[in-house]
Symmetry: C2
């Protein structure tokens, strides 16, 4: 399944808040190009443009659908297809901004070092990654996949990402090239309509690799099973709504 | 011991970041007075004034020293002594902003309901509270107090605050009067010079009630014992610095 810009943008307000929170900690930029890495449908690129209207902007993504949506949204910006795992960053950049993308790349520590080296002095590496593998929303994907009905489907397959390194690991990695580093977690509590809304949310991101692995005729059953588990793990409040607890890691490092 | 503005402001950059993060989520204000509750030495009041230069501002604190420091910093603002536990908020307020103060008041849920009721429609209750009682920095204060050398001093005394209610409890409490609520935790990782800097940090806040309880001739011994424990719990990174993990809870509720 390709990425769906419409599904991803279904929770645009909630998904944009972390992108804003990240950008709020980026200091003024030196000369050079500002890159939105994993720009998706361009919502984060638009935030960068609003914050730094004078900067030359470039958006990169590996998904054609997302690039088409982004170019439609921001006709004045250059969007290019790139695989961040192997992308060679041009020297003298002003900003590498990666919102909710590097969690997909297991070697992102190495990539961060490379990006830091390519920044102009005073330029910023700004990264936000979901850190929610330990949340019920994600543990229950794995539980569903390992349940009797799907044992055969997932036999020998590893979908789950590795846990993220500790904040200290990122600080140790970036400190040698940095004039300053800020690292923090924010745990958002999104107030969503009901358990089904949580399922819709993760369908746009974390549930995708699981659904990709399930044969089409079993997908509805997988989603139904997973939804039952979500309903039990996220009890309704008095008004029927649920709170989706969503931890995210933020890193902002300024090049010395 | 009275509060020390100088010691509190020693880590002004780090302590001001949460105040800024809170303010960044406050929407435009309706007409009415904006209150900085527990204004301390006025650093948060100054942020509010910069963000809402047209608003009529009022700062409240229970500590004389802090009020003197605040009035010196912001000559144009009204500062008044008040005990927030019993303070009766005037109706029609535009903003009640409480940065790092309500954690000291065990009945703050009741206070929040009262503040919400006193807001003008479209006004905001914005609150940030340290949620760090489970961190080594705070568990080790308790461990030191219960160690053989200090058993007599702390016998029968309860210094430790109660744990905070869950985010869902705050949402349930405020939802009936709110047009919208945002709740989140941010866990800051402050990069401090060494273990001693962590001790200096908490001396300005959480360690104070413990030191108040210790007779003067035993205070140095208490701090030395506590510092040893901190040193073991916060190992130095390659550059000798330590990361102080500091979780804080944020609540922003807009009155319906």
């Amino acid at each position: 399944m390709a990425w769906s810009p419409a599904l991803y943008l279904k929770f645009e307000d909630e998904r944009t808040r972390p992108a804003r929170d990240l950008l709020a900690q980026v200091p003024d930029l030196p000369d050079g190009v500002a890159f939105d890495l994993g720009c998706g449908p361009g919502n984060s690129t638009e935030l960068i443009r609003d914050r730094f209207p004078e900067a030359t902007l470039s958006g990169l993504d590996s998904d054609e659908n997302m690039l088409v949506a982004a170019a439609k949204r921001l006709p004045g910006v250059t969007f290019e297809k790139a695989d961040l795992a192997n992308w060679v960053p041009p020297a003298g950049a002003a900003l590498f901004y990666g919102n909710a993308v590097f969690q997909w790349l297991p070697n992102h520590l190495t990539i961060f070092e490379r990006l830091m080296a390519a920044l102009a002095s005073g330029g910023t590496l700004a990264v936000q990654m979901p850190d929610n593998l330990g949340e019920p929303s994600h543990l229950l994907m794995e539980e569903t996949a390992r349940s009797p009905a799907f044992t055969d489907v997932f036999a020998g397959k590893t979908i789950r990402r590795n846990p993220m390194p500790s904040p200290a690991t990122y600080v140790e990695c970036l400190a040698p090239q940095a004039a300053g580093i800020e690292v923090w977690h924010t745990i958002y509590y999104h107030r969503l309509a009901n358990a089904e809304a949580i399922v819709e949310w993760v369908k746009g991101t974390g549930l995708r690799p699981y659904l990709d692995a399930v044969p089409e005729d079993k997908r509805d059953a997988f989603v139904a099973d997973y939804t039952d588990r979500i309903r039990a793990a996220y009890p309704a409040m008095s008004d029927g709504k649920v709170l989706l607890r969503f931890p995210r890691l933020f890193i902002v490092a300024v090049r010395a």
